[in-house]
């Protein structure tokens, strides 16, 4: 695969034009690209800049090889424990694979497909029915993996064909309905076949066989990790090569301007269905692997929450960027594992929270505005704390922050007892304050920011820390917002330009 992928796509200096009859007196137009040439070529300073420059000038096959080399070494140093390899390694790879399939549909062909998770689920159930004691079939993986892909492709083809004229929002609605129908079918409908509910209902299908290729069983996490790594690399290379061909160009042309693409001899509908099917096949394959890895197929693993994570991966990595999917999946899965309620990184979330706030403030310009906001927030906090303590009594201020952090007790107001709707008032207050800040300008905004940030801290300490499940998601959303503000095109995406 790798030797094939270094021919295309690598920008090679175009040959000199053969004797163009340059008209005397006519000027070559200067446009923005030329004007920015030096700026673009300038190498960033420091080791980071050097790394970025090295990354950008490396051929794509080298990038893939570098990823494989690093990923293959991880089980031997960073992810030595079985659990870490499972949570951080294996699941990241599964997310990479799923993200790659979604990237074809969304990033390359430009289809808003919200039913992607259903095809993921179909692959998982196909594996479960054929390789478990449920119906007594114990088919080997070399048969079940292709069947799982086929099982995802057939409904995708039907749905794609039925919806072939639907673009944009309408396609989103149709596919979303499909995803929901799949959940209801597996969870509730669960029709009886051979004396059993075919999908096992809410409990799903348990006790799946491990992946078995020609009698060779993949049982340890390490084996599964390497198998998934190989699969993901093959999928990435395949998508890369497809993207560098006439098919990939036609996908991107249809994404850019479907009407112009159609008039430029591209059968847009057919290509969109092709992308839809291609993505679904990848989802089906990963679904089967996921089922084998988690030894069960349960419908809640294919719900809208998973879809949101997958979209976050694609958006974060950058639309249309294959390398971006890798980065997006790593960032998202690793931060999710950190933020999971049950893992104990006691004050990690708190540091992340305050760190993010300070980071955002520090980016404000000019610097003294940032300093004023920071000082104002701290001062405002102490003042409010003193006033509340004096006026309302100590019961209002002597609550303990969750998981230590005693240094906060003199700054944040935390009631010792449950004070009715205090939490909800904080929430509403925060929403109002944010709206106020958004409507103000200049120094007024700076002034209003201090109490708003303090209110944010109050909400955090009183409400969010006590309900970690919600917090993880909110923190995650904030992280995405910050990242998007800094790089709207995603981490590795190239900024897209719309017709103006």
């Amino acid at each position: 695969m790798s030797d094939a992928s270094d021919t295309p796509g690598v920008p090679e200096p175009p040959p000199e034009p053969e004797a163009p009859e340059a008209e005397p007196g006519s000027r070559i137009g200067i446009d923005s690209w030329v004007a920015e040439a030096d700026q673009r070529r300038a190498r960033g300073r420091g080791p980071l800049g050097l790394a970025a420059w090295g990354w950008e000038s490396a051929p794509d096959s080298t990038k893939l090889l570098a990823f494989v080399a690093i990923a293959a070494s991880l089980p031997f140093w960073l992810l030595k424990s079985e659990g870490d390899l499972f949570n951080f390694g294996l699941f990241t790879l599964i997310f990479v694979g799923l993200g790659l399939g979604l990237q074809v549909v969304v990033g390359l062909a430009g289809l808003l497909d919200l039913g992607y998770v259903a095809f993921y689920g179909i692959g998982a159930y196909a594996y479960a029915l054929l390789s478990s004691g449920y119906y007594g079939h114990h088919w080997p993986a070399e048969a079940t993996l292709p069947i799982a892909m086929g099982a995802a492709v057939i409904p995708a083809a039907i749905l794609g064909f039925a919806a072939r004229r639907l673009l944009g929002d309408y396609l989103a609605i149709v596919t979303l309905f499909f995803a929901q129908a799949f959940l209801v079918f597996t969870n509730v409908t669960n029709p009886t076949l051979f004396g059993k509910g075919i999908t096992g209902g809410a409990n799903g299908i348990p006790n799946l066989d491990p992946l078995t290729f020609f009698g060779y069983k993949l049982t340890s996490t390490k084996q599964l990790y390497f198998f998934t790594l190989g699969t993901v690399v093959v999928v990435a290379a395949a998508i890369y090569l497809a993207n560098q061909s006439r098919i990939g160009r036609a996908w991107r042309a249809s994404r850019e301007d479907p009407l112009a693409a159609e008039v430029m001899s591209i059968p847009v509908n057919r290509l969109k269905i092709l992308a839809f099917i291609f993505g679904s096949a990848v989802a089906g394959l990963l679904g089967a692997i996921y089922a084998a890895v988690s030894t069960a197929a349960v419908s809640t693993n294919f719900n809208i929450g998973v879809l949101i994570i997958l979209y976050a991966i694609v958006i974060l990595g950058g639309f249309g960027s294959i390398a971006g999917v890798f980065v997006g999946a790593i960032v998202i899965n690793v931060s999710f594992e950190f933020l999971e309620p049950q893992t104990d990184y006691p004050s990690f979330k708190r540091w992340l929270f305050y760190g993010l706030i300070i980071f955002v403030i520090a980016r404000l310009k000019p610097w003294y505005r940032a300093a004023v906001i920071l000082a104002g927030t701290v001062g405002f906090g102490f003042a409010v704390h003193a006033v509340v303590a004096a006026m309302a009594g100590h019961a209002w201020t002597t609550g303990k922050p969750i998981s230590g952090a005693g240094w906060l007790t003199h700054w944040v107001v935390i009631p010792r007892l449950n004070h009715g709707n205090f939490d909800n008032f904080l929430y509403i207050g925060l929403v109002l304050a944010v709206m106020l800040v958004a409507s103000l300008k200049g120094w007024w905004r700076t002034i209003a920011l201090a109490p708003t940030l303090y209110l944010t801290a109050l909400v955090w300490e009183n409400v969010l820390v006590t309900s970690p499940g919600v917090t993880a998601l909110i923190l995650f959303g904030v992280m995405l917002i910050v990242l998007m503000a800094i790089r709207p095109q995603g981490l590795l995406g190239t900024s897209r330009v719309e017709i103006v």
């Binding site: 175009p14 163009p20 008209e23 090569l241 160009r249 301007d257 008039v263 059968p267």
Partner: protein
């Protein structure tokens, strides 16, 4: 440049099209012969762009026939019409902005190439050969524009091009579909006099060296006078005059149609 025995390449017969109650094309007859440059002129809203939209299958005519080399195009989807040999540019510029210049010209070769997705992923020798041919063909089309779209510009995203270069890229992209007839919708719009002169010469070259047949919409009468073998004037979807530039430009009906938009057709 008199050509012996010209054959009808594109024929429109009694073509009609209306939007709601508005007749935009009304009983239009038009013939374009091989290796001919035919210009369509007319005031704003005369139905010129709609005519192109009908020929390329974006709209379906209410009545009438569109024949390319005797075969009907009516009812075919746009991509099939283009594969039959009709290519166009857009007045409003519809490039694939976030693709590179050369990729724009490679993408439009979809209809004249064959490799499927499986062979693309396997990089078979046949696929590599076709890919090289696609690139060569694209470079050939871009080199039609001399230095304007050469060398370092190939790998730029299309959005970074200047307005005039976008017009040129539109033409190159249409040429790369390997058409028999090129429909150019106001190729000189937004160009300065030097560039306009250049594009006029280029259209002449497209016919004489490239062997293309060209149907052209243009408001700039310098361009129309410079290259047209024949001129057709439209007003309210009706052909009001046809003939050489001199004949059409002095036709009282044409002058009248232009009153209010332009005092006179002559420069």
């Amino acid at each position: 440049m008199a050509e012996p025995a010209r054959k009808a390449l594109l024929e429109l017969k009694d073509l009609s099209m209306s939007f709601g109650g508005l007749k935009v094309i009304d009983g239009l007859d038009l013939t374009v012969n091989g290796r001919e440059v035919v210009s369509v002129i007319g005031p704003n809203g005369a139905g010129k762009t709609t005519l192109f939209n009908l020929i390329t299958g974006i709209y379906r005519p209410d009545a009438g026939e569109i024949l390319l080399e005797g075969g009907s195009l009516v009812g075919l989807p746009p991509y099939k019409i283009t594969q039959r040999g009709v290519a166009r540019t857009f007045q409003t510029l519809r490039l694939f902005l976030n693709m590179s210049v050369i990729e724009n010209v490679m993408a439009s070769q979809y209809g004249r190439t064959k490799v499927d997705i499986v062979r693309a992923m396997l990089r078979t020798p046949g696929m590599r050969r076709e890919e090289r041919e696609i690139r060569r063909f694209a470079e050939e089309k871009l080199s039609f524009f001399g230095q304007r779209l050469m060398g370092y510009r190939w790998n730029q995203p299309a959005y970074s091009l200047s307005y005039a270069n976008r017009r040129r890229l539109e033409i190159a992209r249409a040429m790369a579909t390997d058409p028999k007839i090129l429909l150019l919708d106001e190729p000189a719009a937004g160009m300065n006099p030097v560039e306009t002169h250049e594009i006029t010469e280029l259209i002449g070259q497209l016919r004489d060296e490239g062997g293309f047949t060209i149907l052209l919409i243009e408001h700039d009468m310098h361009v129309v006078e410079g290259i047209s073998d024949r001129v057709i004037a439209l007003d309210h979807g009706v052909k009001i005059s046809e003939g050489s530039f001199e004949q059409v430009a002095t036709d009282p009906r044409v002058v009248e149609a232009y009153l209010g938009t332009k005092a006179t057709v002559t420069k």
